[in-house]
Structures are given as C-alpha cells and as structure tokens.
Symmetry: C2
Subunit: 116 residues, 2 copies
DNA sequence: TGAATAGTTGAATACCTATTCATATATTAA
DNA sequence: TTAATATATGAATAGGTATTCAACTATTCA
C-alpha cells in the first residue's frame, strides 16, 4: 500500500481537478466498459459480423463458425442482454439479427485503428 | 458434442456461404476483438478518458482514479502495447497521452449506444 | 554519497468467463 | 403419442486477468 497523492500531483493539481470535473458519470463509464467487454471476444465479434450481413438462425451460426450450437446460444443470450441483437421465432427455428446500426458504426471506427 | 450441420443450414446454405465469403480475415476479426478487450475494463476506460482531456503522469492518474500507482502502471503498459497511449519522460516523471484520435472517435460512437 | 520520489515489474491471489456436457423445452411430423 | 429437430440452460471446468504486494530501477537533491 502507498499514499495516493504524490508531490507532482500537488503541482498538477489544477489540471487534475479540471479533468475530474469533466469526467462523465461513473455509470456512463462503467456502461461503456460493459459494452466494449461484449465486443471483446472473437466468437461474439464473428457472430455480430455475420449478422451484419444477414439474419441467421442458431445452427447457421454454429456451422459458419464451426462451433457447437450450445456455445453459440450462450453467446447470443449475452448479446441479446446487451441489446445488440434481437430475434424472431419461426417454428422451431430462431432467427437472430442486429438490434440496430450502432454495431456496424462501432466496427467501422475500430477497424481504422486495427488496419494500420 | 453434436453434429454441426443442421437440416435448416442445408436449406439456408446459399446465404451462409455468401456470408462466409464476405467475412473479413480471421486475423482482422481477432484484432478487432483484442482492441475491444482493451476498452472493456472500467479502469482503462477511465484512464483513456482522462488522457483524452489532458496528458497526465502516473501518479496524477492514480490520484484521479483513487487507485495504487502500481495498478495504474500495469494498465498503462497494456494500453501502450495496444498502441493506444504514448509517453514521454521528464526527469522522474512519465507523462502519458493518447497515441492518436481513434480513441475519441470510438468512444463517441459507443456512447450513442450506451446513452439510449 | 545517501535519502526521497516516480515509476516499473514479477509473482501470487482472487475473481471472472467461455466452452463443454448433460439435460430440458418447444415445435413439427409421422 | 412418439421421434426428431432446434434451441436453451445450469453446472462444472479450464483458462484468463485485474489488483496487490514486495522488490527493483532511475532520477533528483541535499
């Protein structure tokens, strides 16, 4: 354990206080992190990307990603809880699709960083 | 374990193949997930947000986020490895700042989803 | 030189989470 | 009703990771 306030922070106090003042609410930042956490998994990224091309059922995704249907289903539940995908039922088949256009826009922005 | 190719995927074969064809390279998708993983932590989000306001030294960040300087240092190393922050040394003090403008743009995009 | 400050780092711990496995539900068709 | 298919889900496991703790380095200054 150590003390929090260094000498240099005292010197920088004005800047630090100004930054603190403009920081978004704790909830907002936590929410941001939670959203990015959902994007931060290869399986979910692939699912989201696939759904950005076309709506698909669970076993389509399982086949496409070469994974068990169970694993896909678990991830889809997570994605739905985060309001990133929605679904509709047609007989025994459940089709999933993107909830809105945000996903594509976030992808686009992030790709510019990755592809450099 | 279970078989991968369901009957309904046979029916949807055309769509599934088309989606597969347009999927980005494995490396690209993994890279995307890795980037989002870095954003997917409250501490790192706060650090990045703070640095989007002003460059700061390690102990400034520790004071601002009320965390040990060691914890902050560990996270800064991660952020630097991901090319999201850069640093400069001035005597004993190391100042960190955002590596480029991508961070702000990605934040902005994601916020529109969180704040709805 | 020695003391103090700023920062880094490796190991340990405690928590989280992605996948698997087994099972359950829902729908359709025979 | 029974059998088959599509999906969902709870528990267990294995792998990952954020923070802490205890050193350690680098720099300044007295």
């Amino acid at each position: 354990m150590e003390k929090i306030k260094c000498d240099c922070t005292v010197i920088h106090e004005e800047i630090v206080n100004k930054v603190k003042e403009f920081m978004p609410a704790e909830d907002t930042l936590t929410g941001l992190a939670e959203l990015f956490k959902v994007f931060g998994d290869t399986t979910r990224i692939k699912i989201l990307w696939a759904l950005s091309e076309s709506e698909m059922c669970v076993c389509d995704l399982a086949f496409l990603l070469n994974m068990t249907q169970s694993a896909i289903s678990h991830q889809l539940r997570l994605l739905k809880q985060s309001r990133l995908v929605k679904n509709r039922k047609e007989g025994k088949v459940v089709f999933y699709s993107l909830a809105d256009e945000h996903v594509k826009l976030i992808f686009k922005q992030a790709l510019t960083h990755v592809l450099e």
